[in-house]
């Protein structure tokens, strides 16, 4: 049971790193980027190619995957996304769905449609035995890395100037602009950073979530659930939601396999109806 808890926490934290970029995007520009998973996929494939084909060390490939997705995000944001901000939600949804389809088919074409695996350093395989409980080493690594990232994010948000500009822009973009904050610049950087995080998450997730061209489609709903349940006005909301989701999904699939993912979808629907702004949000109506 503790193993399940442990696995669930690892899964949850991974989901958080993957989804927090989406949460910020949604909260900042009220823009639902269904293609967020594509950036994660990009990071994952980047890692796989670097490690398998070019023999780059795993830990060097991780930040490179982050950079790859971040740059990709920045470029796409400045060239394409920026034209879609003012459009109605339906258009935004269609636009990002289009991007998803393109990325899925494109990656299928370039990399083939099978699942890919990354060669992990040997010391990451296997388990630690702690108090008689088997803790997967890789999952432990994920918890450590994601935990550090979460703390760093919270620090950046609360203690840096960029952080306060970001928070101001999320709260009220118009007022922020009036105060002289370069909202579109903030947004471009945030989008890039969020995409980079997604890429890092995708890279870390190759081992746990599996990676194939349909990744953005498969995991889209998970990101949406994190954002829905966690709300978009803080870091802690999505964080807690991710943990809840991760543990719930792992435990659900273990204890009640016939219902499986059914449970978390239902949770999302219930939460959306009861509290449209998320379980943990500060209740700012939009």
């Amino acid at each position: 049971m503790l193993t399940i808890l442990f696995d669930g926490i690892a899964y949850g934290m991974l989901l958080f790193v993957l989804a927090c970029g989406l949460a910020v995007t949604l909260g900042l520009m009220n823009f639902v980027n269904l293609a967020h998973g594509a950036f994660a996929m990009a990071g994952g494939y980047c890692l796989v190619v670097l490690v398998n084909r070019y023999g780059v060390p795993f830990f060097a490939a991780l930040p490179l995957a982050f950079l790859f997705s971040a740059v990709l995000g920045f470029v796409l944001e400045r060239t394409l996304y920026v034209h879609v901000y003012r459009k109605p939600h339906l258009d935004q949804v269609l636009f990002t769905i289009g991007l998803v389809f393109m990325s899925v088919a494109g990656v299928d074409y370039v990399m083939g449609s099978g699942q890919v695996f990354a060669r992990l350093p040997s010391w990451l395989e296997g388990q630690f035995q702690v108090f008689g409980v088997g803790l997967g080493r890789y999952r432990l690594l994920i918890i450590v890395i994601c935990g550090l990232l979460t703390i760093a994010l919270q620090l950046i948000l609360s203690n840096t100037r960029f952080g306060s500009r970001l928070r101001a822009s999320v709260d009220d973009a118009r007022v922020a602009r009036g105060l002289g904050i370069n909202v579109s610049g903030v947004f471009a950087l945030t989008f890039a950073f969020g995409s980079g995080l997604a890429g890092l998450g995708g890279a870390l997730g190759v081992e746990i979530l599996g990676l194939d061209p349909t990744f953005p489609l498969k995991y889209m709903i998970y990101f949406l659930i994190v954002v829905t349940v966690g709300g978009t006005s803080s870091i802690t909301g999505p964080f807690l939601a991710s943990l809840l989701l991760g543990i719930g999904d792992v435990a659900g699939k273990y204890y009640v396999p016939t219902l499986g993912a059914f449970v978390i979808y239902t949770i999302m629907i219930v939460v959306l109806i009861w509290r449209p702004q998320g379980l943990f949000a500060r209740g700012a109506a939009r």
Partner: protein, 347 residues
């Protein structure tokens, strides 16, 4: 102007909305003629008819009530599986009856889930409807004992339509059946949108605050149209099962809901023919592109979506306005009455 002629003029104005345009009649005559003129194409024509009905169902809620749904495939799939199960277990063997039963089942599902789309913003609706479709897919996936799981529903045998018309492998019966169902349901939908109920829906879409201030029970009307639309989608799904003798998880696929939105964007929403025209164009496009790149055709669909949004949906629908302008120009009777109402002609 006398009282009776005043009323007459008003009634005529309102009736103009629902009068059959020449182009409409031409459209259905052309559709009917394809049965005779294109005997080799009945299979793809059946697919087009089914997709058209599915798109019509989404137009009812999107174009007329303003509800965005990313999970309309939920009702399509539900209808499909119900029809399949009715056939497999011999519960209702006559296809038309089974079709009606599937439609009713889908309507029930629509009714039950309708309260989910009443509250919340467009964003919420998108996520909720997506969630519902995924839930159904998961349920179908996990309960293989009932649905056949990932392999699909096996052993679906469709008995002759009305006991008389066997479903042949060229799709003749299938096409006549699908086209007939499409036409009848279209007529019904046309009646509904031109009724006071339909007008109230359009008002809800335009300004829900004002609609409530006029005394319209907004939620009740939305539930009603959502239920009806779900029934239409369920019937479309049942048609698919009955004409292909198979049902798989595919019917719940996200692709289906996404493609459907594209169909309505191509054809335009809010005038009922958008789904039909869009389905025709979409299927032809799909056929053509899949022949070129069978595996990667989603790429081109994605590209089309991106381009359409960037260019602007209004510009796309503006392509259909010349057709509509032409249609109203053809309506010479309306011109005569308009002259009657002109200020100069008052006694």
């Amino acid at each position: 102007m006398s009282r009776t002629s005043r009323i007459g003029a008003i009634q005529d104005r309102l009736a103009a909305r629902s009068r059959w345009h020449v182009l409409e009649i031409a459209f259905w005559l052309a559709a009917l003629s394809t049965y005779y003129l294109l005997p080799g194409k009945h299979l793809i024509l059946t697919e087009i008819a089914i997709l058209a009905l599915f798109a019509l169902s989404l137009d009812l809620i999107l174009g007329y009530a303003g509800i965005i749904s990313l999970g309309h495939a939920a009702f399509f799939g539900f209808g499909a599986y119900v029809a399949g199960l009715l056939a497999v277990h011999g519960i209702i063997t006559e296809p038309l009856l089974a079709l009606l039963a599937s439609g009713l089942a889908a309507m029930l599902l629509g009714f039950v889930t309708s309260f989910l789309v009443l509250r919340g913003s467009d964003l919420t609706r998108i996520m909720v409807t997506l969630g519902v479709a995924l839930v159904l897919r998961e349920l179908a996936n996990r309960n293989g004992w009932l649905t056949g799981g990932a392999d699909g529903l096996q052993g679906v045998e469709i008995k002759p339509l009305l006991g008389l018309f066997r479903f042949d492998m060229f799709g003749r019966t299938a096409y006549a059946y699908s086209l007939g169902v499409l036409f009848v349901l279209f007529l019904l939908a046309r009646r509904i949108v031109n009724s006071p109920f339909g007008l109230s829906l359009q008002s809800i879409k335009g300004n829900p605050l004002r609609a409530a201030a006029v005394g319209i029970p907004v939620n009740r009307r939305l539930v009603a149209i959502y239920t009806i639309a779900a029934g239409y989608a369920g019937i479309a799904g049942a048609l698919l099962t009955q004409t292909t003798a198979f049902a798989s998880l595919d019917v719940f696929a996200f692709d289906r809901s996404a493609d459907l939105l594209l169909v309505l964007i191509i054809g335009g929403t809010g005038y009922l023919y958008g789904g039909l025209i869009g389905a025709l164009v979409f299927k032809l496009m799909q056929d053509y592109i899949s022949a070129l790149t069978p595996q990667y055709w989603p790429f081109w669909i994605g590209l089309l979506l991106v381009v359409i949004v960037l260019v602007g949906r209004e510009r796309i629908t503006s392509w259909t306005t010349p057709i509509r302008a032409l249609a109203s120009r053809l309506d010479w009777r309306a011109d005569r009455r308009r002259a009657q109402l002109a200020p100069g002609s008052h006694p």
